[in-house]
Amino acid sequence: MALFVLQRLLQSIAVLFAVSIAIFLAVYSVGNPADLLVPPDATQAERAAMIARLGLDRPVWAQYLTFLGNALQGDLGTSFVHGRPALSLILSRMPATFELVFWALAIASAIGIPIGLWIGLNDGTRTARAAMTGSILGYSIPSFWKGMVLILIFAVWLQWLPAAGRGETVSLLGIPLSFLTLDGLRHMTLPVVNLAIPNIALMIRLTAAGAAEAVHQDYVRFARAKGVRPKRIVRRHVLRNILIPIVTVLGVEFGSLIAFSTITETVFAWPGMGRLLITSIYQLDRPVVVAYVMLVTFIFVAVNLLVDFTYAALDPRVKLVENMG
């Protein structure tokens, strides 16, 4: 076990390092942020001063080495636009995104898995097929349009819910969370729904596919031949087996949504990380973009690790560490 964790740690460091180089090169070769930061009536001297101040006059590899040196001390650069350390800037926006993603996936699982299970167990029937086809709608509808329609219906026409923004927050362990207040819940509803819909479809299809496959497996048939009750077959035989791919996908989806819930955050003016990323890209706020990608990479690595642990816990056939020799 310790060996496994150590292996993973080393791999992760290698990955982070490779990613840092790739993203640094990509971001630092596009455009010149100074042009976006100096006021329009800046003189040549002012522009040159800005460039020097941001260190943009040094060659890329020199900038990278400075970045690397700082990174090893925990400093991932300072935002050109906001003047704050890039990492703390991103982390300050993380609770908002986290809240959104967590609830969206929780709802998606709570709704999607039971429905998917039902579809999978009734594999081959017309209703099951119709439901599967219907689920395609869930992730085919463009997120931006879907979000705007939700706003139109619930905020503009019915006036039940607010159109955008995050509501009141309450600090829990130092982290501001909004789902603990009524105002927060009201603001959270539409963006969470918007994010949940395609994930419900995903969960349905994933669970249905898994369950359909499981149901045709010999061991399910054998359990039936033994006279095991249907409820128990679903619970112990089917569910336990399909949980593995579900957990894997949930993990990846979680990481992916944390990083890229940009559209939902933009439509609902939700002050999360995704919006920060987009604006930073537009403004060529390079340190933020680089720090963001690094953080996201780290999140994915951590999530993968968690998924692997869960995997091993769920499937007794899986060994965490490859046998040597």
């Binding site: 061991y219 054998f222 033994k226 095991v228």
Partner: protein, 329 residues
């Protein structure tokens, strides 16, 4: 006083599979009878419908399949009239099944113990500890050492042969009256095969259960079975006691099967086969389904399905031109 009524009396069973083009009978009207303590060998090549017949007894046919006709009387009850819950109560208790591939029969993420215990607790209100004890006992009966420790292991920690023993042990847990074994040794090594067959013989004799042994291997069935039923294209083309069927087959197909068993032929001579292949479900020939491969086929065979012929001793066959009594194999 012995009760001579059969444990299983099946009449005219018909199981079809639906597809866009229609309904294809995998089992096209078969009769089977098994008595207490008897071993019936159901023989046929792949595609003959023998496995489907086995599942049909338990009612384990899922869409697009459907049992459309027949009576399946098990200990006086017509299984086809029972609802799902009624069938469930019998399955694993009085009516047990052993599957073909031991590597996929057991759920890989649950322990052997859990999978055996559930066979007991799903039928009766038995305390887990007691169920475990019985499971361990059953494992011991099939020759698995340290059974208590083994109960906490997972299927992937057992070899193929061991897993099949576990399956057998599971089937015996509730003292079933009828066991259906669907090619239980086909997926195993030849050496293990022999062991399993011997085990099964012993256990079956001990418990007095009726056993239907489904196989494509006439040699295996020859050892075990008291009676043989030969199946082709969804029909039973010949039945009778093992000795009779093997010594004096009436149906050309049975004869062909016998001739193709390796071992009988002198060394150096090529293996004999029944020429051609079994017809697919959707393309069964008109008339006698065997006629394309039969060297005795005539015009009537191509036009008309043969009617069942029988004799008082329980022999029956389905052929327009059965092999004559006394004609040597």
């Amino acid at each position: 006083m012995t009760d001579n009524s059969p444990v299983l009396d099946m009449r005219g069973l018909r199981t079809v599979f639906h597809d866009a083009a229609g309904a294809w009978p995998a089992v096209d009207g078969i009769d089977l009878t098994v008595h207490r303590g008897e071993v019936l060998g159901l023989v046929g090549e792949s595609g003959s419908g023998k496995s489907v017949a086995g599942f049909s007894i338990l009612g384990l046919i899922d869409p697009p399949g459907e049992i459309t006709d027949g009576q399946v009387t098990f200990r006086g009850q017509d299984l086809r009239r029972l609802d799902e819950e009624g069938l469930r109560r019998l399955r694993g208790a009085e009516l047990a099944m052993i599957f073909q591939d031991p590597l996929t029969t057991l759920n890989p993420v649950l322990t052997i113990g859990e999978q055996m215990v559930e066979a007991i607790t799903e039928h009766a209100d038995v305390a887990p500890a007691e169920a475990r004890r019985r499971a361990a006992e059953s494992l011991e009966k099939v020759g698995i050492t340290s059974p208590r420790a083994r109960l906490d292991q997972y299927p992937h920690e057992f070899s193929g042969g061991m897993r099949q023993r576990v399956a057998i042990a599971t089937a015996l847990l509730n003292n079933p009256a009828l066991i259906i074994a669907d090619e239980p040794t086909t997926a195993l090594d030849v050496t293990i095969q022999g062991q399993i067959i011997a085990e099964m013989q012993r256990l079956q004799a001990e418990s007095g259960a009726a056993l239907i042994w489904i196989s494509h291997d006439l040699g295996v069935v020859a050892e075990l079975a008291d009676r043989i039923a030969v199946m082709y294209a969804g029909r039973i083309v010949e039945t009778g006691s093992t000795d009779e069927v093997l010594d004096r087959p009436r149906h050309p197909y049975t004869k062909g099967l016998l001739e193709s068993v390796p071992g009988d032929a002198p060394p150096g001579q090529g293996l004999r086969q029944v020429p051609g292949a079994a017809p697919p479900l959707s393309a069964r020939p008109v008339g006698c389904p065997f006629h394309p491969r039969c060297d005795r086929a005539t015009e009537i065979c191509r036009r008309e399905e043969p009617a069942r012929d029988a004799d008082p001793s329980g022999r029956s066959w389905l052929c327009h031109h059965p092999l004559d009594d006394g004609a040597a194999a």
